[in-house]
């Protein structure tokens, strides 16, 4: 009796400690974001004179007005388009590739896996010139379509790596049962493996989604006209050679981050929780 009581008290104490630490880290995570938003409501001179930690004099909306009157929606549309197309393509072909790597007992699998992992180590800047040349030849330079190829390709190594290890950890029982029922490999993939991989895929969607949304190097290498730029390049409009309008840039960055946060709230919850519950029961 006593020992249960003691362990209960211990567990409550430990939880309290965990919650306190959790709350502390909540602040650590949130504060920079809060300061980003707060300073986006200041005027440039005001921000510099008062420093970034003080509250704005009044809710100055001029930065947001200027940003939204510019090409913001154009950039936003481009970014969203590239993101949706690249992400869908990436997740699908990654899932396809991870399946044989995780499940098939083939001699060729392990060298291929090693090759794909090796591709993770490539420094991105070294690919800019070859990819630029390629897009020039394919007549894709300065169009948002040019971004899709590199975005998908550079998401592949990490995604295959994560998803393969995820698929390996999926229990084989359901699969074995299906195999006895005479289910073919391709059907097995679509009916069983793919649904069971959804938590892994949602992690990848989040990881790659954030990367593609904030991607900068390819975006400016492969596009040039204003109409084909994506959101990360929007900061350019408020940055000159000698100075930048920091509050305006923070307004742009806030507007860039918000859709991702909203997406994270919905996508993460729906995908991870909803799906796995369904999948495990089914």
């Amino acid at each position: 009796m006593d020992s249960i009581k003691v362990s209960k008290i211990k567990s409550i104490l430990l939880w309290t400690l965990a919650v306190i630490l959790g709350l502390f880290y909540l602040l650590v995570s949130l504060l920079p974001f809060v300061f980003m938003i707060m300073n986006s409501f200041k005027e440039q001179f005001e921000m510099l004179v008062k420093g970034i930690f003080e509250l704005p004099d009044h809710l100055y909306l001029g930065n947001y007005e200027a940003v939204l009157q510019g090409n913001f929606f154009r950039y936003f549309g481009n970014s969203l388009f590239v993101l949706v197309v690249s992400l869908a393509l990436l997740l699908f072909i990654t899932a396809c590739a991870s399946y044989p790597l995780a499940r098939f007992k083939l001699k060729i699998c392990s060298p291929l896996y090693a090759l794909i992992v090796a591709c993770m180590s490539i420094p991105i800047h070294i690919t800019l010139i070859p990819v630029f040349k390629m897009m020039m030849k394919m007549n894709l330079y300065d169009s948002i379509w040019a971004l899709i190829g590199p975005y998908v390709a550079f998401g592949i190594p990490i995604s295959v790596f994560i998803l393969t290890s995820f698929m390996q950890s999926i229990s084989r029982e359901i699969e074995d049962a299906a195999q006895i029922d005479g289910c073919g490999r391709i059907r097995m993939f679509f009916r069983i493996i793919l649904p069971l991989s959804k938590p892994g895929l949602s992690t990848l969607a989040i990881y790659n989604g954030v990367h593609m949304w904030n991607e900068f190097s390819f975006a400016y290498t492969l596009t040039q006209s204003v109409g084909n730029r994506t959101l990360p390049l929007a900061v350019w409009d408020f940055k000159g050679q000698y100075s930048m309008n920091t509050p305006m840039i923070l307004a742009v960055l806030t507007l860039t981050a918000l859709p991702m946060i909203i997406m994270f709230i919905f996508a993460q919850d729906a995908l991870v929780k909803g799906m796995t519950a369904g999948a495990v029961k089914g």
């Binding site: 995570s29 992992v117 993939f189």
Partner: protein, 301 residues
Amino acid sequence: MKKKTKALASLRKREMLLTGMLFLAPVLIFLAVFVIYPIIESFHISFFKWNGISAGREFIGWKNWKTLFMDGNFRRAAGNNLIIMALSILIQIPLGLAMATFLEFGKKKFKVFKVVWFIPHLMSSVAIGFLFSYALATNGGIISTISKWFGGGNVDLLGSSTLALYAVIGVICWQFSPFYMVYFLAAYTNISEEIYEAARIDGATKGKYFWHIVLPLLKPSLKSAAILSMVGALKYFDLIYVMTGGGPGSSTELMATYMYTLSFSNFNMGYGSCVASGMFLIITLMSLFTMKVLNRIGGDA
């Protein structure tokens, strides 16, 4: 009878190979075009003296590679990468795992935490660099203020050649730990409810359940996380470039920033490509080796 099963087995093997290649083909095509071709090109350029823009370039054999071997700057940069790697693995993964475990054990109650904790990973490096260079400022920054509460003086972090690297590593960990949180949350979904129920019936506390059941089950995910963190740290570029630009002096220079400076501002594309290729070799060998070792150690799992 035996012959028949053998033939059937080989037929199945062939069918497996065919399906496998079909599944792998799209990924391999993308990689060949956008990753493998550029890296071959980079190795090729590493044998030339080239400013990066002129039509002609001069073949110089192994000269760049010999320089690379003797290059103190490169060694220093690689050393910095190793520090980032060690600290990334030691900080990001435990922190991410702790957050995921907290959320998993706390169930629905702490949903808000998950969203807020993830915010750092959603912010762009530009914003992070800006905000933290104010937050870490020598005069009026957070660390200096805390130090003053305890009677200390101002602390110069980003301007100190010994501390700047660690200050930026702190920010990197802040940005990337949430990714490992999401990563481990997904891994948790593969541990079924029944295991927990069974453990509880056996009288295991949550602590025991975590250390004796969850951790061994998460071993494969932990290994992958370590590799990911390792590769990410060895080719790291972003926040160092934004927050210190490799400085003070060249004290926070990384392999990637060094390569970038050589190729795109020093007009030394030949040597820059050599650094990139060397970097590629180092990272690949290290990660494949670590994978082998980890697999051997954790072979029982």
